[in-house]
Every structure is written in structure tokens, then in C-alpha cells.
């Protein structure tokens, strides 16, 4: 606990001088920014996603935007592409003020984005995907398919993509789809290109293609915003860096004037305002053992143990396979190999119902889709996984149902008007409390919490943290999947870091530092 504070404080102080120094002040300004953002603010109910951030993008240069999950990276992309309108702040292009209130505005202004989840149309051809919305027409006003294929071919050739423009998109792999999305961005004659984690799900060879493409775009004088988690690629292709943390700009400058360690520290460094609960109960005997859990496409060779009263953290980049492992443990997906032992006895888990009966529960990350049934009352939500025990000869005992809901919502300090209120009417934090309550009501032995504080306000976060500590103290074995470094450090007894579907490291004690986490997760630790 106190050691964590020291670590954090150390980072904060070491960062200060760098922040004050204007990194490129000594060098002559070669070019003026194409696009400038000043004081951009964006609020959502209960969360401030962006608090007055600035961003400059220069022609022929790649600016890398770095930050943890929830730092505001995707929000700024959505502001740039007209999906969100900022609450305050200005955009300007070539010193002219710019209004971007719709997706079309952004396209007209010459801002093109390639999103994390490529949004394209499977049943249309590659050429049509590139040109949908602005297809070339012939004299009769009909879509000129030949011209469209020709132009698409030339754009694809320009970005070095060997793709037949008449092929149906559904027949392409992920990497090729990315290239099509990039071609689409270029077809609109963009001067600014936003790449949102373009290499996240690509193989090494495919990543090289993306790098080569970025080089070409640079040569064409485009201003590029490159969002990434991976330090090696940032140093390889970026000219400038910008770090966001908790919706604020914490620093920016030329990549040549910074080291990887600096960026890691900027990224994870945090005000020591967040206090985590003190944990006194030491982990007890082993409860859960997972042996060599393997899935054909998602993860491989996952082995670990979990003890009573222990909080085991799972850290990794988004898409590292953490949630997939947990969902397999919970019986949602089927592993191809491996075993689960509870108290030393093998358990066959083929469905969530089996997992719940065995005493393993999973609080999913996607609250709205997987956790809560938003159209049903709080009481029904809490009772849902316990229906068997609440039923007598198939009839739900309503008095017991309300009693159960009362007990657990009170424990979690839920704020609601009544238990028969629809859960959809509650705030995100309170919804999360109901979702946790519903799982606790099954009296589990092992509880898996997947990003338990994602998207909820600071107050509810602290309540969830306190509660997690309390559960562990009562002897529950807890697995916490989290992408927030302070949370992982502050809550876990031990941390497993996953990368690309494999266990990259298991860290505890003195090894458990922010730098180690980031390096193991990004794969930069092995190179060092």
C-alpha cells in the first residue's frame, strides 16, 4: 500500500521537469500544423472524458497518441470524425476555424479515420467499400463500376495492397480489410488520416505492410494521428508523441527527444488521489487450479492457481485474450484442451449454469449486453442466477426473492428508488452494483470480475474496490481482469500478464511495478 504510493509519487516528481520543458522549442519550426485542437472538452453523465486537451497534427508527420484505456483516445477520434460534438474547445484547419458536427463534415474537411473495428460492408465488393457514398458516376448518372474498380485499384496499388478490387469483402482476411479501410480513407482525398490501433489484430508480416503504408502517406504529406499501445512501433514510425491520461493532456513533443521509460512513466503516472483499501487477510489454501487451458484461436497453455482470500489480477492489452480465458472458465465458450480443478477435484464446465453450480461466477465487462437485463427490475436481475434456489416446485418465492435482493443491494450500498425499478434507469455505477449483487447472491467460491470499474464514476469505483477487498477478506477467491494499472497494482496480491493469448509473466512483490506490467504486456520486456 504505502510502497505503491511511493512508486506513484516517484513517477509524478520525475515527470515534472520534462513537462515544463518545451521539447522542440530549441529547434526551428519547420511546418505549421494542418489541424489544431484547442481546449477540447467532452463530458458524459458522471464522467469527464476529455478536459481541455490540445492536439496539433503536422503535414508529413506521424503523431503518436498514447494512453491507457479510458485516457480519452477514442473520444478524441470521435470528436475528429464528427461522431461526438465537443462541449467546449475549437478545431482549426490551416488556421481557419472548423466545425465538425457530423461524419460528412469530417469527410468534407478532409479528415479520414480508420477505426479499431473496421466498419465496412461484407457483401459489397472491395471497390464499392472504398467508394460507398461517393461512387464515380457516368454521364447517365449511373454508378460507373469500371471507373470505380480502376480508381480503387490505383488507390490500393498506391498503398501497396495486392487486393483485387472486384472481390467480395467477406472473402478477405482481417489485414486486407484494414487495407481496404485505409484505401477508403484515402479515396476521400483526406489531408488528415487517423489510424486507431491499426496493428492491434495483425500478424508481424501484416504489421510491416501497415508501417510501409504509413511511410508512403507521410511522403504524400498527410498529417497522421497514430493511436497505439505498442512502444516499439511508436518509436519506429512516429515523429511526435502526445500522451493522454484520464482525459487530460500530460505531455507532447518530438519522439527524438524522449525515451520509452519516459513515455511509460507519463502514461501510468497518476495523482496520488486514488486510495486503495488496506488488505490485512493473507491468502489461504488453494481453491482453483487451471491446467493448460487452450482454445483453438484465442488462447493457449493457460495455467494458474487461485487461493482463498486472494485477489489475482489479470493485466494485458485489449485483445490479449484475458476475457476469452475467463469466459471459457465460465462455460460460455469451450476450450479445446485443459482442466479446471476446484478444491483439487476436476470439474466439467460446459455452460454458465454448470459454472454457477460449481461456485464459479463471472461479472462480465460488457455490462449492458452480458451483465444486466436492462428491461427488467432490479429484483429480477438480482434473482436471475439464483432462480433454482429461490424456486419451490418451479414457483418463484417472491418474498424470498425480495429478501435476497434487499440483503445484497444493501451490502453494496445501492442507490435506487425501489427494487421494482428497471435497472436501465440506474447510473452506470449503480448498475454495476446490481450486477455484482446478482452474482454474490449465488454464494460463489470464486468470483471473476472483468473490468469491474470500467466506465463508472470515481465514487462508485472506490466503493467497488472496498467491496472487492471485503469479499476477499471474507475468504472469497477473486480474479480481477483490469486494464487500469493503478487498479491492478492497488488491488492485486499477484498479477498474471497476458499477451497475444499467452501468459507473458506472473508478477508479485517487488516485480510488481508499473513498468514491468507495461513492458510484459507490450512485449518490450523481452527485448530489454
Amino acid at each position: 500500500m504505502s510502497s505503491l504510493e511511493q512508486k506513484m509519487a516517484a513517477h509524478a516528481s520525475s515527470l515534472q521537469p520534462e513537462l515544463d520543458a518545451e521539447p522542440d522549442a530549441s529547434q526551428p519550426v519547420l511546418s505549421k500544423p494542418v489541424l489544431s485542437l484547442r481546449g477540447i472538452e467532452k463530458r458524459f453523465p458522471g464522467v469527464k472524458a476529455l478536459c481541455g486537451v490540445d492536439l496539433d497534427l503536422y503535414p508529413g508527420e506521424v503523431t503518436a497518441l498514447i494512453g491507457e484505456n479510458g485516457a480519452g483516445k477514442s473520444t478524441i477520434v470521435k470528436v475528429l470524425t464528427g461522431i461526438y460534438t465537443p462541449d467546449a474547445g475549437t478545431l482549426s484547419m490551416h488556421d481557419e476555424p472548423l466545425q465538425v458536427t457530423s461524419a460528412q463534415d469530417a469527410v468534407k474537411a478532409g479528415i479520414a479515420a480508420i477505426h479499431q473495428e473496421t466498419v465496412l460492408f461484407d457483401e459489397l465488393s472491395v471497390a464499392e467499400n472504398v467508394f460507398i457514398g461517393h461512387a464515380p458516376r457516368n454521364r447517365l448518372g449511373a454508378i460507373d463500376h469500371a471507373a470505380m474498380r480502376r480508381e480503387a485499384a490505383s488507390i490500393l496499388k498506391r498503398i501497396g495492397a495486392d487486393i483485387d478490387p472486384s472481390v467480395r469483402l467477406a472473402d478477405l482476411g482481417i489485414a486486407s480489410r484494414h487495407l481496404v479501410a485505409i484505401a477508403r480513407a484515402l479515396s476521400a482525398q483526406a489531408s488528415v488520416v487517423v489510424l486507431d490501433e491499426p496493428t492491434a489484430s495483425l500478424s508481424a508480416h501484416e504489421i510491416e505492410e501497415v508501417y510501409a503504408l504509413v511511410e508512403r502517406l507521410k511522403a504524400e504529406g498527410k498529417a497522421i494521428l497514430f493511436i497505439s499501445h505498442k512502444f516499439d512501433e511508436v518509436f519506429r514510425i512516429a515523429d511526435r508523441w502526445t500522451v493522454f491520461r484520464d482525459g487530460e493532456l500530460v505531455g507532447s513533443g518530438k519522439i527524438s527527444a524522449v525515451t520509452e521509460d519516459d513515455l511509460v512513466r507519463l502514461m501510468v503516472g497518476r495523482d496520488v488521489g486514488q486510495v486503495f483499501p488496506t488488505r490485512t487477510v493473507k491468502p489461504g489454501e488453494e481453491v482453483l487450479e487451471v491446467q493448460n487451458y487452450t482454445h483453438p484461436t484465442e488462447f493457449s497453455g493457460i495455467s494458474f492457481t487461485l487461493r482463498k482470500a486472494e485477489i489475482l489480477g489479470f493485466y494485458g492489452l485489449v485483445g490479449a485474450g484475458r476475457s476469452e480465458v475467463m469466459q471459457a472458465l465460465f462455460g460460455v465458450t469451450k476450450p479445446s484442451d485443459g482442466a479446471v480443478l476446484l478444491d483439487g477435484n476436476p470439474k466439467a464446465i460446459r455452460s454458465p449454469a454448470d459454472a454457477i453450480n460449481a461456485g464459479i461466477v463471472y461479472v462480465p465487462e460488457d455490462r449492458g449486453r452480458q451483465g444486466a437485463v436492462l428491461g427488467l427490475p432490479i429484483v429480477d436481475n438480482v434473482a436471475l442466477p439464483s432462480l433454482q434456489t429461490l424456486s419451490h416446485r418451479g414457483f418463484v418465492q417472491m418474498a424470498e426473492e425480495y429478501a435476497l435482493a434487499q440483503t445484497y443491494t444493501r451490502r453494496l450500498d445501492l442507490r435506487a428508488a425501489a427494487l421494482d425499478q428497471d435497472i436501465g434507469e440506474l447510473s452506470g455505477g449503480n448498475q454495476q452494483k446490481v450486477v455484482i449483487a446478482k452474482w454474490l447472491a449465488t454464494k460463489p467460491r470464486v468470483i471473476i470480475l472483468d473490468e469491474p470499474t470500467k466506465g463508472i464514476d470515481i465514487g462508485s469505483k472506490a466503493a467497488v474496490h472496498d467491496f472487492m477487498a471485503e469479499l476477499a477478506a471474507e475468504g472469497l477467491a477473486v480474479i480481477m481482469v483490469s486494464s487500469e494499472i493503478p487498479e491492478v497494482l492497488g488491488m492485486s496480491d499477484r498479477v498474471i500478464v497476458m499477451r497475444e493469448g499467452l501468459i507473458a509473466a506472473e508478477l508479485s512483490g517487488d516485480d510488481l511495478t508499473p513498468e514491468r506490467l507495461v513492458r510484459e504486456a507490450a512485449g518490450y520486456g523481452e527485448a530489454a
Binding site: 460492408f121 457483401e123 459489397l124 454508378i143 488462447f299 497453455g301 479445446s336 484442451d337 497475444e500 501468459i503
Partner: protein
């Protein structure tokens, strides 16, 4: 290879096999005159199926097409009886407009009030059918009440084909052109395939669905006139239940009910398949009462085939080089 896998190719092969089997035993079936008959018989189904296709492409369904056909057809007949001097081309144009207007009612309810299409068209199905009764007072309009010009048009022979067939051919050409060569046509696929991405591409999904219903309605309206004029009779129950044949033709033709996938050619082939089955049954001596069961079985088989084709692999997290099974790292010490 992808050519062989396409639904259209499979259907062409199936239709070819079907015709071959029938022709082997009953060569008269493939006489040109008979094939023209089959095409002509299937023309109303073709027209409705291509209209239904654009609606299904946008993730909707139009169950009101047969009722639209009946209402427009009855209206056309009543107008012909009341104003025998009105030129028939005007009646044809009027039927298209009226059908489109009825389709627009569906479309506006789906677009502006976001009512599920199945509920909207279930409602308008019963309303349109009821209105047929109201405007006709439940009476039949028979051949002798219609003018010769009115009932002769669909039968007029042009280049060896009746005009009814030419209308179906023209309908296929027009719809194929709309789908392939206009931004609206491509928007049908975009909206059905990925509505949220369509918004990013500057397409209004609701408006696109509205226009699909208008097109489907226009096809139904045209067919209404053609149907009444060809059979020379109009009554409340004409084409009752035909909407299910239409959906069947689309499903057999590979139009995905989930939207965004399918072609006009597929719908044409699906309709032809049903039409050939219907016409071949009496020839091979199978009771025509078998037709319904055969088309039902064809739908079920087509749905199962579509479902298999659409199953996709999940995303890949593990790199291909990664070992399958076995831990990369030593077991963590416990």
C-alpha cells in the same frame, strides 16, 4: 471456385437438373411453347419477388404485397368498369403509382415511427384486404364487365412472348439496374449489411428502407393490374396468401432474411424454381396438391443452406506461430 459456391450458380444447376429430369420423361415439357407458358405463369411471382428482395436487403419484410396487389387490381378493374374510355396505359401507370403509395404507407411507418416491419405489414395486409371488400362491396368483377383493351394488354404477343412476361423481364432489368447502378441500390446492401457503418458513410437507413417499401409497393401495384387483366376477374380473395410464396421465392433465391445479402438474379431464379415445380407437377403426374409441401421443403432446405453459408469464424487472437496446447513458459511457481 467462388463462382461454383454462389447461390445463383447452385440454383441454375438445380433448375437445369429439374428441367432435365422432367424433359427426360416428358419431352413436351421443354417445348418452347410450354417454357414460354411457364415463364408467363411465373411472371407475377417474379415481379413481387424482386420487389420483396430490395425490402429484405434492408433488413425488413413486406407481408402486405399480395393485399396491395388485390387492392390495386380491384381498383384498376373498378376504374375500367366506371370509365371504359380511359386509356389502358394510364391505368397501368396509375396502378404503379397506387401500389407505390401503399408501399409508402408501410415505409413511412417503418421509417418515422420505427415500428417493426413485420407488425406494420401484418397490419396493412389486413387493412388493404379489407379495403378490397369495401370498395367492391364484396362483388366480383367479371370478364364481360371489363373492356377488351383492359384485358388484352397482358396477353398481347410481342416477339413470341406475351406482354405479361415482358413486364416481368423489364421489371427484372429495371430492378437489377437500380440495385447495381444507383447509389440507392448500393445503400440497400449497406443498410442491411451494417446499419451503423452505413450512417458513417452518410446513408440514412430509415429513408433507404422507406424507398425499398415504395419500390416493392410499385411492383405489387403493377402486378395487381396485370393479374386482374390476365385472369379477367377481380374479387376479394385474389392472390390471398401469395405473400408467403413471394418470401419463399426470395429465401430459395438466397436473399438473406438478416439483410444485406442476395441479388435480383437470385430472386428471379428462386421464383422460376417455384414456377417450374408448379408447372412440372401435373406433367409428371404428381398431384398439384403436392406443390405446397414441395415449396415448403425447398424453403426449409434453403434456410438451412443459407445458415451454413453465413456461419463465420471468430476472431483470431493467437498468432499462427503460437503452439497449440502446451505452455510456452515454465509453470508459475506456486
Amino acid at each position: 471456385m467462388s463462382f461454383l459456391r454462389s447461390r445463383e450458380t447452385q440454383l441454375i444447376l438445380a433448375i437445369g437438373a429439374l428441367i432435365a429430369v422432367v424433359a427426360w420423361r416428358f419431352p413436351a415439357f421443354v417445348a418452347p411453347g410450354n417454357l414460354v407458358n411457364v415463364l408467363n405463369d411465373t411472371s407475377p411471382l417474379i415481379l413481387l419477388a424482386i420487389g420483396q428482395t430490395v425490402v429484405i436487403l434492408t433488413r425488413c419484410i413486406d407481408l402486405s404485397v399480395a393485399a396491395n396487389l388485390a387492392l390495386t387490381g380491384m381498383t384498376a378493374a373498378i376504374i375500367n368498369v366506371a370509365m371504359p374510355d380511359l386509356p389502358v396505359p394510364l391505368i397501368v401507370a396509375g396502378s404503379v403509382v397506387m401500389g407505390a403509395a401503399l408501399g409508402a404507407i408501410n415505409g413511412i411507418l417503418v421509417w418515422k415511427l420505427t415500428i417493426p416491419p413485420i407488425v406494420v405489414t401484418l397490419g396493412t395486409l389486413t387493412i388493404f384486404r379489407g379495403l378490397v371488400f369495401v370498395i367492391s362491396d364484396g362483388q366480383w368483377i367479371n370478364a364481360h364487365e371489363m373492356t377488351d383493351a383492359f384485358s388484352a394488354l397482358p396477353r398481347a404477343q410481342v416477339l413470341g412472348l406475351p406482354l405479361l412476361s415482358w413486364f416481368a423481364i423489364a421489371g427484372v432489368v429495371v430492378f437489377a439496374a437500380i440495385v447495381r447502378y444507383t447509389p440507392l441500390g448500393r445503400a440497400f446492401y449497406a443498410v442491411g449489411g451494417n446499419p451503423s457503418a452505413a450512417v458513417y458513410a452518410g446513408i440514412n437507413p430509415g429513408r433507404t428502407q422507406f424507398l425499398a417499401f415504395v419500390l416493392s409497393g410499385a411492383a405489387a401495384g403493377l402486378t395487381g393490374y396485370l393479374w386482374v387483366a390476365r385472369y379477367q376477374v377481380a374479387y376479394v380473395d385474389i392472390a390471398r396468401g401469395f405473400e408467403l410464396d413471394v418470401v419463399a421465392a426470395c429465401v430459395i433465391g438466397g436473399i438473406s432474411i438478416a439483410g444485406g445479402a442476395g441479388t435480383i438474379l437470385g430472386a428471379l431464379l428462386g421464383a422460376l424454381f417455384l414456377g417450374i415445380v408448379k408447372n412440372a407437377l401435373p406433367v409428371v403426374g404428381i398431384s398439384p396438391f403436392w406443390q405446397l409441401a414441395i415449396s415448403g421443403a425447398a424453403i426449409v432446405i434453403a434456410v438451412i443452406a443459407n445458415g451454413r453459408a453465413q456461419r463465420r469464424a471468430g476472431r483470431q487472437i493467437l498468432k499462427r506461430e503460437a503452439p497449440q496446447g502446451g505452455s510456452l513458459r515454465p509453470e508459475p511457481a506456486t
